[in-house]
Symmetry: C2
Subunit: 325 residues, 2 copies
Amino acid sequence: MQLNQETIINQDLKENIVIEEIKVFAPATVANVGCAFDILGFALENIGDEMIFRKTSTPGIKIISKGLGNLPTNPEKNVAGVVAIEMMKNEDSSFGLEIEINKKINPGSGIGSSAASASGAAFGISKLLNRNYSTHELIHFAMQGEKLASGAEHADNVAPAITGEFALIRGYHPLDMIVIKAPKNLYCTVIHPQIEIKTKEAREMLPKEVALKDAVIQWGNVAGLIAGLHQSNYQLIGRSLQDIIIEPQRAKLIPGFYNLKMAAMDSGALGCSISGSGPSVFALSEGIETANAIKAAFDKVYFDKGIDYHLFVSAIGKTGSRLIQ
Amino acid sequence: MQLNQETIINQDLKENIVIEEIKVFAPATVANVGCAFDILGFALENIGDEMIFRKTSTPGIKIISKGLGNLPTNPEKNVAGVVAIEMMKNEDSSFGLEIEINKKINPGSGIGSSAASASGAAFGISKLLNRNYSTHELIHFAMQGEKLASGAEHADNVAPAITGEFALIRGYHPLDMIVIKAPKNLYCTVIHPQIEIKTKEAREMLPKEVALKDAVIQWGNVAGLIAGLHQSNYQLIGRSLQDIIIEPQRAKLIPGFYNLKMAAMDSGALGCSISGSGPSVFALSEGIETANAIKAAFDKVYFDKGIDYHLFVSAIGKTGSRLIQ
């Protein structure tokens, strides 16, 4: 479908008839997972956006933004919109697409707000149009949205937002994604301080070079984490959740990061680090009781900081983006 | 047991009665495994040293060297000897130890010659004296031998030489070793050009710093390799066997390395890289037929090079050091 500004913007809504409609849940995701910078992410079970996809009679793409954030409704500037534009290139121009985003994940939170929009769009449009895109194809579409949001086509949020569980991005040329099932009793606690960190800026503060000996320590931990997930070895997962390269840099951006980390570890967390590029901080634990104890401990640390914050506890999402209702 | 030069060297053999004797097989090992520099190794099934351990009536440690290499028989300068000295510190001084090493792995080969001696010694002495040392304790003892051989207490050869299968060294402080079972149809082909590369020198040629983006590519491959091993996903193992940091440096030390690699890949190898610090080159494959085809291809590459070489095909060793006969 060829798009021009006119078809995008000046649709005549009065004549626009909804042919079909589906509702999709697109989960929040935690990327990097401590040591595994840029290559690993996991889906949360019950935290995410709701998106409605409508096949309409009038050609063009229309974005309706509800909920948190102040999302642009110009499809070319909206994360879900650019995914839709890309996917509609494969379709004829006889129908239109309306995407209603009920955003529940704050943009800039570090738990994959843009990835949820992008992945939800890729999944939702594929379902709405009965296209049997492979998981890798859906990730490719969703990466277009991430590119708009962060300037880089990374996949460590969009992949788990599509597949659920942990998603490993072994490499990008070509995209090589592997799903790793989470141990069944693994839970995640997240605190989201209401400050915004731009992924681009968080990326620019990283060192260009690292000592080989540090890189070896880091890939030892990456290997331990992947082995721990496969072997359902919670203690090994915990010992491996050490990031000696990225976390020390980005911790500076998050008020009280080390207090949060100490509070989580004292409450029995397996490990605690920065979610994506922050400011959200996540902790992993064995069992929901510990996850709730960490939530209370996070609350205590931030209670009198004078910064608004949100707290979540979630299992690891078994599915990623999915149909609801 | 306190040792002095006199008890070590000047034992009166005529009066030395053998109280007990065991025979041990100590396997050759492949460390680094492509991308997983310094953190991963695996045992070969049927290639290794034979060692005889004798509990004797005369106090002191005696080394008898047979087979390949020109091993020092002064225990303080012998890899198995220093392990024995360390372990005998926990024993009374009423008996002696005789270690006969029938070396079949050439020193400096890159398939864990010193590690076999060190691990065989740790395992053999523990068995001979009925000590129930844990795997981690045995690795610690064996690391003393590696320290003598290479100047560094690394464990990526000694660990698999003790445990069999793949051994992951997540970290060293404290030692954190995890066994990963090999997919059952995984085979290894090794070519050992008869040139010697000293681990110390091979280590000194490595860069002190690496680009963060390269480190990320490397730990993506490390993660893929660990996931592939757990999931018995041979193709994933193959895609992950890419070392962009160490191999390009050390390849220079091995005549015709890239010809060997190309020959292996053309013969169906999953991947091909340098074993340890070289000069041995290994290839992994699914099935013994492919492993044998790679052996023939290696042979063809080296046939007219004017360098002596040995060729091996082996399954991954299910056990590491073990009692034989």
